[in-house]
């Protein structure tokens, strides 16, 4: 059996159509789950698979589902986070474009397991074509009785809706996503209460990333033991690594969790472009602290990257070459977070804007000696001191770039300033 779980059938003509999907063992996991398994058994299987959230935080999916109260009169909801906004990340788009039924099948099993009858796919506004394809696939699934009043005659009811966002990075944060889905301004909520108990419209809600949910069918079909064996015991399955930047073959690569970063870049992505030399790698989407060329011999799993003071995040690998100025990188990073801060928490709202103004001034050639220390102080003011993780997400890359490339950044400051 191949190591690929999600992209296994990529390349098959018309895979996005339900007939082709069905020809390739499509919806068999859903059938198995709904007819042969009890909700508890599914939950145990997913827990045992150690499927960690693919959105960035890496929270175990089974544990998350387990937090949802069982005996409650309120409806429960599933929200699939398809607001793929982390710069460098483009994996979910591929899953939804090429294999939308895999996601829908995952949604069916997840909903059945938790006792959910309404699921939402919150997709970023820019993915218009992808949203249309999802809607097409959902309509096919209704036609074939995989969604609707009584799925496969089991009496289990499930409706799935696609909801398009309006272009805010912050709406990828789960509680901001809920606010946005409720029709409000996408501001993160104060936690606790957590969405598992008080989520969408005040009801218990499971929020999972597209890739996470898409892994469910294969866990049900092949079992948790198999899933763990593909990846690492404590971090099962594969990751879809999205490689971008100065490599020969940028793109998505589905590889077991724990694959070496160097191997991904050199072997799978074809190594550096002709004449380019590796300078640094951002290993998990722009929020992840940067790694220098010397630090890339590392296993791509949650724990190893935390040990290296970075993070796996969305497993989006951005490869930076020697000719790229780190000040330019810093400028992109600070401009992005300054633009995307929701504006709720003081340190993030003003801190990011302030940092961005300093970096812009530096890029304009008017840097001052004290600037870098001020940026560090402002980033530390954000780190761990905001309501949602955006503060950390903005502070971490800035701090790591300054720490690891301080000499270079200082070289852009005019003498005497």
């Amino acid at each position: 059996m191949t190591d690929k779980i999600l992209t296994q059938h990529f390349g098959l003509e018309n895979l996005f159509k339900i007939d082709v999907y069905l020809e390739n063992k499509g919806y068999e996991a859903a059938k198995k789950a709904l007819t042969d398994m009890k909700a508890d058994e599914i939950l145990e299987e997913v827990k045992a698979a150690n499927l960690r959230g693919r959105g960035g935080a890496g929270f175990p999916a089974g544990v998350k589902w387990g937090f949802v109260p069982k005996d409650i009169e309120k409806p429960k909801y599933l929200c699939v986070n398809a607001d793929e906004g982390e710069p460098g990340t483009f994996k979910d788009r591929y899953i939804m474009t090429h294999n939308p039924h895999l996601l829908i099948e995952g949604i069916i099993i997840t909903s059945f397991c938790v006792g959910i009858h309404t699921a939402f796919i919150y997709i970023r506004g820019e993915y218009e074509a992808v949203a249309l394809r999802l809607e097409q696939a959902i309509s096919e699934a209704y036609d074939k009785d995989f969604l609707g009043e009584s799925i496969l005659g089991t009496g289990f009811k499930l409706d799935v809706y696609v909801h398009r966002g309006a272009g805010a990075y912050i709406c990828g944060e789960e509680t901001a996503l809920l606010e946005s889905l409720e029709g409000k301004r996408g501001n993160p909520r104060l936690k606790p209460p957590f969405p598992a108990s008080v989520g969408l419209f005040g009801c218990p809600t499971v929020i999972n990333n597209v890739e996470t949910v898409s892994n469910i069918p294969s866990i049900i079909l092949n079992g948790a033991a198999w899933f763990c064996q593909v990846g690492l015991p404590k971090d099962g399955g594969t990751r879809i690594f999205g490689v971008s930047g100065m490599v020969k073959k940028p793109g998505i690569y589905e590889l077991p969790v724990g694959t070496n970063l160097k191997e991904i870049i050199i072997k799978h992505a074809g190594g550096m472009m002709e004449g380019k030399k590796l300078k640094a790698v951002i290993p998990g989407g722009m929020s992840a602290p940067i790694l220098t060329a010397e630090e890339i011999d590392i296993s791509m799993d949650f724990d190893s990257l935390v040990e290296a003071k970075s993070m796996l995040g969305s497993a989006a690998i951005i490869v930076i070459d020697e000719e790229t100025s780190m000040l330019d990188v810093l400028r992109r990073v600070t401009k992005f977070y300054s633009h995307e801060s929701c504006g709720q928490c003081t340190p993030c709202r003003i801190g990011n804007s302030w940092i961005n103004k300093i970096v812009k001034r530096m890029a304009d050639g008017n840097g001052k000696r004290e600037d870098l220390d001020k940026i560090i102080q402002l980033a530390n003011n954000m780190m761990g001191k905001t309501l949602c993780p955006l503060g950390d997400a903005a502070a971490m890359p800035v701090l790591s770039i300054i720490q690891k490339f301080r000499k270079e950044l200082e070289s852009y400051i005019p003498l005497g300033n």
Partner: protein, 517 residues
């Protein structure tokens, strides 16, 4: 109960209390901007971060609930550092225009900078330019440069008035509070926004640039413009020695009372305070000209007039018209003197007509003490005035403050025919000239006593302002008058203050015993 340690101070608080409230109960203030008692914690200003032993990150005091054995530090190095960081950010983009800001002196940002900041600004970039004078309501202006985005105003309109006129627009540093498509805040509670704003972002046109907050003396009082009895502060200026000011009162602010008005007052109560200073009658007027006689002499004259009729057994020819602007104590004295002692027989109320209630605080009744009058035993139905005035020889009218909305026309024609007419008034009014004697009265804000609100709560009040000119509180005059009448001297001689009257009132009328306070 949970036993916790805040800055080495032990406190026992109920399970589920937030750290911020627990600290306050132990006498420790934790700085905050977005948090307000009236609303759920928002957790966005990040000023209230505290350190909790065993936790890796600083936590919000406004929303974190205490656990037994918790050790909290509100002054550790990392807490102070975080606080400074927040202040540094807020002040970086702030216009620092305190010298022309109405909020200066009572601004939380100013206070916290004094307390925790006092750093030199290291902000060398260009500040964001924003609008500084946007009309957001009939009395409200919004300065977006001063705004700290605490969202108190937005939450007030969402949760209290449910009118939802304000929202936050744009993102990040461009985020701003604004109206939807220019539709202004328009509800009877809009004035609360300026008071609720912790900084000078929302200012009140009524107060804008009129004076500085530190010149104001803030004294407790009760609003008298309807029968809710909202608790307020009357804020007045003592004036300067070298030039006089056009008025004493510059603002009315809310005073929290969860049993009556919560944290809010209506716009009528907030803005219609000009009657406290305008058109005040402050001298004794006899036959339409200022009279040089003292209160003592005047009281003797009035007592003489009453005594004459009383001894001639013509008490039934004395008429008394009241308005429920009088305190419980004053109404009690009137009841005692005119009904018990003299038995005048003709007492009626002439209150302004009811207006519409707003279904929140503002009631239909527009005088503060109709309930009190009822509990003392008065009949509040207006009389058949023609019949009432028919054979009156001596008429007393307590009409204070005379407001345009009371219809005095039924009295006008009869006044001429009555031998002697005495008006107790607080304001100059066209009706005054029709009376033989007009005596200046203090307002509720200028005296002590108690009022009974629409739901029957008895609330005491003390003077928030000095009485102007020759004004006298009605209770004082009534005690002096009763003593002069020498009918029941010992009874009235025990009254030296509204409190002493209330003590007796409590004994005599069961309603005024403690449970209604």
């Amino acid at each position: 109960m949970a036993k916790i340690l805040i800055d080495e101070r032990e406190c026992d608080v109920a399970e589920g209390t937030t750290i911020l409230k627990a600290a306050e109960s132990a006498g420790l203030q934790i700085p905050h901007l977005c948090y307000h008692k009236a609303f759920m914690p928002e957790g966005s200003c990040r000023m209230c971060l505290v350190e909790i032993e065993g936790l890796p990150k600083l936590e919000l005091a406004c929303s974190t609930q205490v656990r037994d054995g918790m050790k909290v530090s509100t002054k550790s190095e990392s807490v102070i550092e975080a606080r400074k960081g927040v202040l540094e950010c807020l002040l970086a983009d702030h216009p620092i225009d305190c010298p022309i800001c109405d909020k200066a002196g009572e601004c939380k940002l100013q206070d916290y900078y004094e307390e925790y900041g006092l750093f030199e600004s290291e902000f060398n970039e260009e500040k964001e330019k924003r609008q500084k004078k946007i009309e957001i309501g009939k009395n409200l202006l919004h300065d977006q440069e001063r705004c700290v985005l605490c969202r108190r105003c937005v939450r007030f309109l969402d949760e209290v008035t449910k009118t939802r006129e304000l929202g936050v627009f744009q993102r990040g540093v461009h985020a701003e509070v604004a109206t939807y498509d220019g539709i202004l805040v328009d509800n009877n509670y809009s004035g609360n926004l300026a008071e609720l704003c912790p900084v000078g972002a929302i200012t009140d046109k009524d107060f804008r640039f009129k004076t500085r907050t530190w010149f104001l003396q803030s004294r407790e009082s009760i609003c008298t413009l309807c029968s809710r009895g909202c608790n307020i502060y009357v804020e007045s200026h003592q004036g300067f020695s070298r030039f006089s000011l056009p008025k004493r009162v510059y603002r009315i602010q809310t005073r929290e009372n969860q049993m009556i008005n919560g944290f809010w007052i209506c716009d009528k109560g907030r803005y219609d305070y000009s009657y406290l200073d305008q058109e005040r009658l402050d001298k004794i007027v006899v036959n339409n000209s200022e009279d040089p006689q003292s209160w003592q002499e005047i009281t003797s004259i009035v007592a003489g007039e009453i005594g004459r009729l009383f001894h001639m057994k013509r008490s039934s020819h004395i008429g008394l018209i009241l308005q429920s602007w009088l305190s419980n104590e004053e109404l009690f004295l009137i009841d005692k003197i005119f009904r018990n002692d003299i038995n005048i027989g003709k007492i009626s109320f002439l209150d302004p007509p009811e207006e519409s209630s707003d279904d929140f605080l503002l009631t239909a009744e527009r005088t503060p003490n109709r309930r009190g009058a009822k509990e003392i035993g008065f009949d509040l139905q207006p009389a058949d005035w023609e019949k009432f005035l028919e054979d009156v020889d001596l008429l007393f009218v307590f009409a204070s403050p005379i407001k345009g909305d009371t219809d005095f026309s039924p009295l006008k024609a009869a006044l001429d025919k009555i031998e002697k007419t005495v008006l107790f008034a607080s304001h100059n009014h066209e009706i005054n000239s029709l009376f033989d004697m007009v005596l200046p009265m203090s307002l509720i804000a200028e005296k002590g006593g108690s009022l009974t609100n629409i739901v029957g709560s008895v609330q005491g009040f003390s003077p928030a302002l000095d009485a102007p000119g020759n004004c006298k509180p009605a209770w004082q005059f009534l005690v002096d008058l009763a003593k002069k009448l020498m009918i029941n001297f010992d009874f009235y001689n025990q009254f030296s203050s509204p409190e002493s009257i209330r003590e007796v009132m409590k004994k005599e009328i069961p309603y005024f015993r403690e449970e209604h306070e």
